[in-house]
C-alpha cells in the first residue's frame, strides 16, 4: 500500500564528531588507533582523517607512551597488551580530549578445547570448562578460504549453525543447513550468565569454506561485546529498512560507544583457536 520516494532533508549540519576506533588483543605487538571525523549521513565525501592528534596510552594508570601518525587516519604504538589489565586511551584534537577505557579479558585458551565431532565429520565441538565468576562475553566463529584455487580469498564464515540453546537470539534465523535448527550470522554469541562454572559442549557447523579452516572463540570485554552486538543489530535493521516487513516497527537506535567526548570503540578481546588442515569426511562434496 505504501510508496517510497527520494527526499532531501538537509541533515548533518551539526558539528562533526571525533571518531576513535581501536581494538586491543594480546596477539599483536602493536596497538593501532584510527582517528577520523563523522560526515553527513547522505554524503559522497570520504571520512576526514584526523592527523594532528596527540594520543596517549595508559596501562593500569601508567603512561606507556604516545602514538605516532602513520598514514591516513591510522596511529600506531609498538606495545603488547596483557590479559586482565586495564587500558586507557586519550586523544587530544585541537584542545579537545576524548578518551576510553577497557580491561582485557583473561586468557581463555586453557579453558576450551575445540575438536571435530559428529557422524558427518563436519560438525565441530567446543568444550568449555568455565571457571570464571565475572560476566564473560563469547563470540564463536570460523575462517577459511573462498574464491578459486588460483585466487583464494580469506574470509569469515557467513553463518554458524547450532542448536546451542543458550546462544543469543539477536542474529538468529531458522537454518537452511544440515540438521541444525538455527543459523547465526557470522558469529554465535553467548555469555556465561546461565552456564557459569559448568562444563559446556557446543556442537556447531558452518558454511563450507575451503580448507584449511580455523575455528575461533573470542572472549571480549563488555564494551567490544556491546559494540559488536549493537553494530550487527543496527546493520540488520538498516539493510532491511526498505523491506515491507520493516514498515511497522522501524526504529533506529545508536551503536554502543565507550568513547567519552566522541564516538567509536575502545575494546579488547582474547581468543583461542584451532586450525583444521584436513577434515576426514567421505560424504563431503
Amino acid at each position: 500500500m505504501g510508496c517510497v520516494e527520494d527526499v532531501n532533508l538537509n541533515l548533518g549540519k551539526q558539528n562533526k564528531a571525533i571518531v576513535l576506533n581501536s581494538i586491543l588483543t594480546p596477539d599483536k605487538d602493536t596497538v593501532v588507533v584510527w582517528l577520523s571525523l563523522s560526515r553527513p549521513v547522505v554524503s559522497n565525501i570520504n571520512f576526514e582523517p584526523v592527523k594532528n592528534a596527540t594520543i596517549e596510552f595508559f596501562e593500569d594508570n601508567t603512561n606507556i607512551g604516545k602514538f605516532t601518525w602513520e598514514d591516513s587516519s591510522r596511529y600506531v604504538l609498538p606495545f603488547t597488551v596483557s590479559p586482565n589489565k586495564k587500558y586507557r586511551i586519550e586523544a587530544t584534537v585541537d584542545g579537545k580530549t576524548i578518551w576510553g577505557e577497557t580491561t582485557l579479558p583473561k586468557a581463555i585458551d586453557k579453558e576450551c578445547e575445540i575438536s571435530i565431532h559428529g557422524i558427518h565429520r563436519r560438525e565441530f565441538q567446543l568444550h568449555l570448562q568455565l571457571q570464571k565468576t565475572e560476566p564473560n562475553y563469547y563470540w564463536l566463529s570460523a575462517t577459511g578460504y573462498s574464491g578459486t584455487e588460483d585466487n583464494p580469498v580469506h574470509g569469515i564464515a557467513n553463518s554458524i549453525s547450532s542448536d546451542f540453546e543458550y546462544a543469543d537470539a539477536f542474529n538468529r534465523t531458522p537454518t537452511e543447513y544440515y540438521s541444525y535448527k538455527f543459523d547465526y550470522m557470522y558469529y554465535l554469541r553467548f555469555t556465561n550468565q546461565f552456564i557459569n562454572k559448568k562444563n559446556v559442549d557446543i556442537y556447531f557447523a558452518f558454511e563450507t569454506i575451503r580448507r584449511p579452516v580455523e575455528v575461533v572463540l573470542l572472549s571480549t570485554d563488555y564494551h567490544l561485546d556491546k559494540y559488536m552486538k549493537s553494530s550487527m543489530k543496527m546493520s540488520e535493521i538498516e539493510s532491511d529498512a526498505g523491506e515491507e516487513g520493516m514498515f511497522l516497527g522501524f526504529n533506529p537506535f545508536p551503536v554502543y560507544t565507550n568513547i567519552n567526548g566522541g564516538t567509536g570503540i575502545f575494546g579488547s578481546f582474547t581468543s583461542a583457536s584451532k586450525e583444521f588442515q584436513k577434515i576426514e569426511d567421505s560424504n563431503e562434496h
Binding site: L11, Q14, V42, F247, F250
Partner: protein, 780 residues
C-alpha cells in the same frame, strides 16, 4: 496518618453534619431513565425540577435521585438525541419514577431554555468529551471501518503518532497513561492489525467518554486521562441486529430480550478478511512458504433486571490477532519451520447494581482482565522442538462504587477496589527432546492494590459548584509498600446562564508502565509493574477553561492545561541493541520527568443539518532523563505543536419516498498537525572491522555506522490529510440499509512514515496514499 489529614477529615465531617440534618424534611424522587424503544439505561440524562430550580443527572447506570420539597411540581427529563419529556408530580413522600425517552428523529432538535446540570456548562467536570457510536460511524475512516480510537484522535488535546495508528497521547501523556476501560474493566492492548485498528467494535459500543482535564476521584491507576467505553446493554424489547462488510473486515451484532423487559443479551463479533485473502493468493501460486495474518473479536453482554432495586450484568470481551509463517523447504522434514506471533485480550466482568435506598445506589463489580502476547518458533511438525517467548498480564479486581444523594445540592460518590495484578514479562522457554529451559521466570511480579476514594459535588453558592475528592491506598510489590494520597479538586463559576469558567487540579499515581520501542501502539510493547527499584509514576494536572453555550446548537470552549509527570520510565538509549536475553527489563530502563502544557480551542455544532466541530491545539510536551540526551529535555514523541482539526457531517438529502426515509450525508475530516519528532541519524562515521574479519571479504561490511547521539532529534514535515465519505441511509419500517463510500487521504498527501538511507540517497516511506473504499451495513 498525619495530623493534617486527621484535621481535614474532621472538618469534612463537621461540614457534612448540618447538611445531613436537613435530609428528613424533603421527599426524594429516584428511578431510572431508559430508552423507550430498547429499555437501555441512559447515563447522563438529566432531570430538572422547574419550581425548585434544581436538577440532577443520571449516573452511568441511568439512575437518578434528587431530594426536593414536597408538593405539586413539574420536571423536565432530557437527553441528547432524545425527545424531552415534561412530567407533572404531586410529591408527598419518597417516590420512584422510571422515565422512558424516545429518540428524536427531528434534526432541528427542540431548544429547551431551562437550565440543566449538563456537563458542558454547569458541571465542575471539565475536559470531558463524549462520543456516541453514531458520531464515530460518521467520521470517515480508512477502508470504511469505523474506529473509536481514531475518532478520539480528532478531538482537541489528543495527539496521534504515525499515520492511521491507534496509538494516541492525551495532553502530552504517554499512551499507557490513558486508562482505557470497557464497561469499567481496563483493556491493556487496544489495537488490532499491528496498531492500525482499534480492538473496539463500534457496533457493540453505546457511548464513550474521554476525561482529559480533571480526573474525578473514582478514576485511578493512570497519569493523564481516562477513556471510558460503555458497551450496549442489549435491547429489552425486541430482537434487533446489524451486519456490516468493509474491505478489511466483516462484523455483526445481535441483541434482544431473553425475557421481555427482564433479561436481555447482546453479542457482536468481527473478523478480518486479511487471512482469507492472503491464504487464497498463496494457494493459487502454490508457494512453499505460507504467511498469513488475521484478527477477530467478540463482545457479549447479558443483563438481568431482577427487580427495581437489583440488576445483574455479565460482560465479556475477547479479541485475538495472529500472524504465522510456515515453511517446508525441499523433501527433508527437518527443514520445517513455523513462526507464530499472537496477542489476545480477554475481559470478563460481573456487575451487580443495587439500590439500597432512594438516595443510595451501589454497583459492585468483580472482573478479570488479561493480556497475553506470545511468539513461537516450531522446528518440526510434531512440536518436539520449539522456542517460545511470552508476556502476560493478569488483573483480578473486586470493587464497589456508591452514589449517595443526601441533599438536593449535593451528590457523593465513594468506593473501594482491591486488585491482584500479575506480570510475566519476557518469559523465554526452549524445549527439545534433549533439553528444556525457561529464562526470566524469576522476574514474575505480583502487585496487590487496595484503594479507597471519595468525591462530592457541592453547590457552594448559586454560582459556584465544586467537586472535591480524594483517592488513596497502597500498592504492595516485592515486599515493598507504596502509599499514595491523591486529591482532586474542580470548581465551576457560572459567569452567566450561557457561560461558565472552570479550574481543576488532579494528582494521579500509576503502578504499571508500558515499555515501548515504537510509538505505534503495536502490541510488541511490554507491560511491566512498579517494583522495589522502579517507583510508581505520579502526575499533577492543572487545567482551566471557559465554556460558552449561546444556544443548544453551539458549544464553544477554551481550555488550558499544565501537567507535570514524575517517575515516568523508558528504555535507555540503544537498549534494543545490547539487551541480554534472560536479563530483567529493569536493567535497561531509566526513570525521569515530563512536562506538558497547552491551550485548546473548540467550536462544536451539536444539531441541525450541519454538525461537527473545529478545534485548534497549541501544545508542548517534553521528557527529561538523566541518562538520555545528556540529561537535557527533549520533545516527546507525540508532541505536535500545532493541531488543527475539522470534523463535519452535512445532511444533503432528507426525504421520504415510497414509505422509505432516505438520508444522504457527506462527512469530512481534516487534520493539520506539526510534524512528529523522530530519532534519525543525521551523521555517520567510520567503523572498525570485528575480530577475525580483518582480512576477510566482509571487511567493509561495517564500514559506516549511523551516528545517533540524541532521541527525537528531527521534526518531520507537517502532517495533513483530508478524508471524505458519502453516506446513503435508507430506512424502511425497522430496517436500515447503509452504504458508505469513502476516500482516505483525498488529495493523496505523502505524509512521511519514516526515512532510511539507501546508498547515498535518503528515502521516505509513505504508508497510506489515497485509498477509496466502500462499506455496507444492514440493520434490522
Amino acid at each position: 496518618m498525619n495530623i493534617n489529614l486527621k484535621h481535614k477529615i474532621f472538618l469534612l465531617f463537621l461540614f457534612y453534619l448540618p447538611l445531613l440534618a436537613f435530609t428528613q424534611k424533603n421527599v426524594t424522587v429516584s428511578g431510572y431513565v431508559i430508552d423507550a424503544a430498547t429499555s437501555e439505561q441512559l447515563p447522563g440524562a438529566t432531570m430538572f425540577f422547574a419550581k425548585q430550580r434544581v436538577g440532577v443527572s443520571c449516573n452511568q447506570y441511568g439512575f437518578y435521585s434528587i431530594t426536593v420539597n414536597s408538593g405539586k411540581t413539574t420536571a423536565i427529563c432530557r437527553f441528547v438525541g432524545y425527545e424531552s419529556k415534561q412530567l407533572l408530580f404531586q410529591l408527598n413522600r419518597d417516590t420512584i419514577i422510571n422515565i422512558k425517552l424516545a429518540t428524536n428523529n427531528n434534526i432541528d432538535e427542540v431548544e429547551i431554555k431551562a437550565p440543566s446540570s449538563e456537563e458542558f456548562l454547569l458541571s465542575p467536570t471539565m475536559g470531558m468529551q463524549r462520543l456516541s457510536a453514531k458520531q464515530v460511524e460518521q467520521i470517515p475512516m480508512m477502508l470504511g471501518e469505523p474506529d473509536l480510537l481514531k475518532a478520539i484522535q480528532m478531538l482537541p488535546g489528543v495527539s496521534f503518532s504515525a499515520e492511521s495508528s491507534t496509538g494516541f497521547s492525551v495532553r502530552g501523556g504517554s499512551p499507557d497513561q490513558t486508562l482505557i476501560q470497557l464497561d469499567g474493566v481496563p483493556v491493556y492492548n487496544a489495537s488490532h492489525l499491528w496498531g492500525f485498528m482499534s480492538v473496539f467494535n463500534n457496533d457493540a459500543i453505546s457511548e464513550t467518554k474521554l476525561y482529559k482535564g480533571n480526573l474525578p476521584a473514582r478514576f485511578g491507576g493512570r497519569l493523564s486521562s481516562v477513556l471510558d467505553i460503555r458497551m450496549k446493554e442489549g435491547n429489552m424489547q425486541k430482537i434487533s441486529g446489524a451486519f456490516s462488510i468493509s474491505p478489511i473486515a466483516t462484523r455483526f451484532i445481535l441483541e434482544g430480550p431473553i425475557l421481555r423487559n427482564k433479561v436481555s443479551f447482546m453479542v457482536s463479533a468481527r473478523k478480518t478478511w486479511a487471512d482469507v485473502i492472503l491464504l487464497t493468493a498463496q494457494r493459487l501460486y502454490d508457494t512453499e512458504q505460507v504467511v498469513t495474518y488475521g484478527f477477530w473479536d467478540i463482545n457479549a453482554k447479558a443483563n438481568w433486571k431482577i427487580n427495581q432495586n437489583n440488576r445483574l450484568f455479565l460482560s465479556f470481551y475477547t479479541g485475538r490477532d495472529a500472524f504465522w509463517a510456515e515453511e517446508l523447504v525441499g523433501i527433508q522434514a527437518y527443514n520445517y519451520s513455523k513462526f507464530t506471533y499472537n496477542w489476545q485480550n480477554l475481559t470478563t466482568v460481573l456487575r451487580w447494581n443495587h439500590v439500597f435506598s432512594p438516595t443510595l445506589f451501589a454497583n459492585f463489580s468483580a472482573y478479570n482482565s488479561r493480556f497475553k502476547q506470545e511468539y513461537l518458533n516450531k522446528y518440526d511438525e510434531k512440536g518436539e522442538k520449539e522456542y517460545k517467548g511470552y508476556n502476560n498480564l493478569t488483573d483480578w479486581t473486586v470493587k464497589g462504587d456508591f452514589d449517595w444523594f443526601p441533599l438536593t445540592n449535593m451528590r457523593t460518590k465513594f468506593g473501594f477496589n482491591f486488585s491482584n495484578q500479575t506480570f510475566s514479562p519476557e518469559i523465554i522457554s526452549f524445549k527439545s527432546p534433549e533439553e528444556s529451559f525457561v529464562l526470566n521466570s524469576d522476574i514474575f511480579t505480583q502487585n496487590l492494590i487496595s484503594e479507597l476514594y471519595f468525591e462530592s459535588d457541592i453547590n457552594i453558592t448559586q454560582k459556584i459548584k465544586g467537586n472535591f475528592g480524594l483517592r488513596g491506598g497502597m500498592m504492595s510489590t516485592q515486599g515493598k509498600n507504596y502509599w499514595s494520597f491523591r486529591p482532586r479538586v474542580s470548581l465551576r463559576y457560572s459567569i452567566s446562564n450561557f457561560m461558565s469558567g472552570k479550574i481543576s487540579y488532579s494528582r494521579m499515581t500509576q503502578f504499571l508502565h508500558q515499555l515501548k520501542n515504537t510509538t505505534l501502539g503495536i502490541p510488541t510493547e511490554l507491560w511491566v509493574s512498579s517494583t522495589d527499584n522502579i517507583k510508581p509514576g505520579t502526575s499533577d494536572l492543572f487545567s482551566a477553561g471557559v465554556f460558552w453555550k449561546p444556544t443548544t446548537k453551539y458549544h464553544f470552549s477554551v481550555e488550558t492545561y499544565y501537567s507535570l509527570l514524575h517517575n515516568v520510565i523508558r528504555y535507555k538509549l540503544g537498549s534494543l541493541g545490547i539487551k541480554e536475553q534472560g536479563e530483567s527489563w529493569e536493567n535497561y530502563v531509566v526513570q525521569g520527568e515530563g512536562k506538558s502544557y497547552g491551550i485548546e480551542f473548540m467550536a462544536e455544532k451539536k444539531n441541525g443539518k450541519l454538525t461537527g466541530w473545529v478545534s485548534y491545539t497549541l501544545a508542548k510536551s517534553i521528557r527529561q532523563f538523566s541518562e538520555i540526551n545528556f540529561g537535557n529535555p527533549f520533545p516527546y514523541s507525540f508532541e505536535r505543536r500545532h493541531q488543527f482539526k475539522i470534523n463535519s457531517n452535512y445532511a444533503i438529502i432528507e426525504k421520504v419516498k415510497k414509505g422509505k426515509n432516505i438520508h444522504h450525508s457527506i462527512s469530512t475530516s481534516f487534520v493539520f498537525a506539526s510534524g512528529a519528532f523522530i530519532t534519525i541519524a543525521e551523521q555517520e562515521y567510520s567503523g572498525i572491522s570485528f575480530p577475525i574479519m580483518d582480512e576477510a571479504t566482509t571487511s567493509n561490511w561495517f564500514e559506516n555506522r549511523s551516528l545517533i547521539n540524541t532521541v527525537n532529534n528531527y521534526q518531520m514535515p507537517a502532517f495533513h490529510r483530508l478524508n471524505l465519505s458519502y453516506i446513503i441511509e435508507r430506512n424502511y419500517k425497522s430496517k436500515t440499509v447503509l452504504w458508505n463510500f469513502s476516500i482516505y487521504n483525498a488529495y493523496n498527501r505523502h505524509n512521511p512514515w519514516y526515512y532510511y538511507k539507501k546508498g547515498d540517497k535518503l528515502k521516505q516511506i509513505t504508508m497510506f496514499p489515497i485509498i477509496p473504499s466502500v462499506s455496507f451495513t444492514y440493520k434490522w
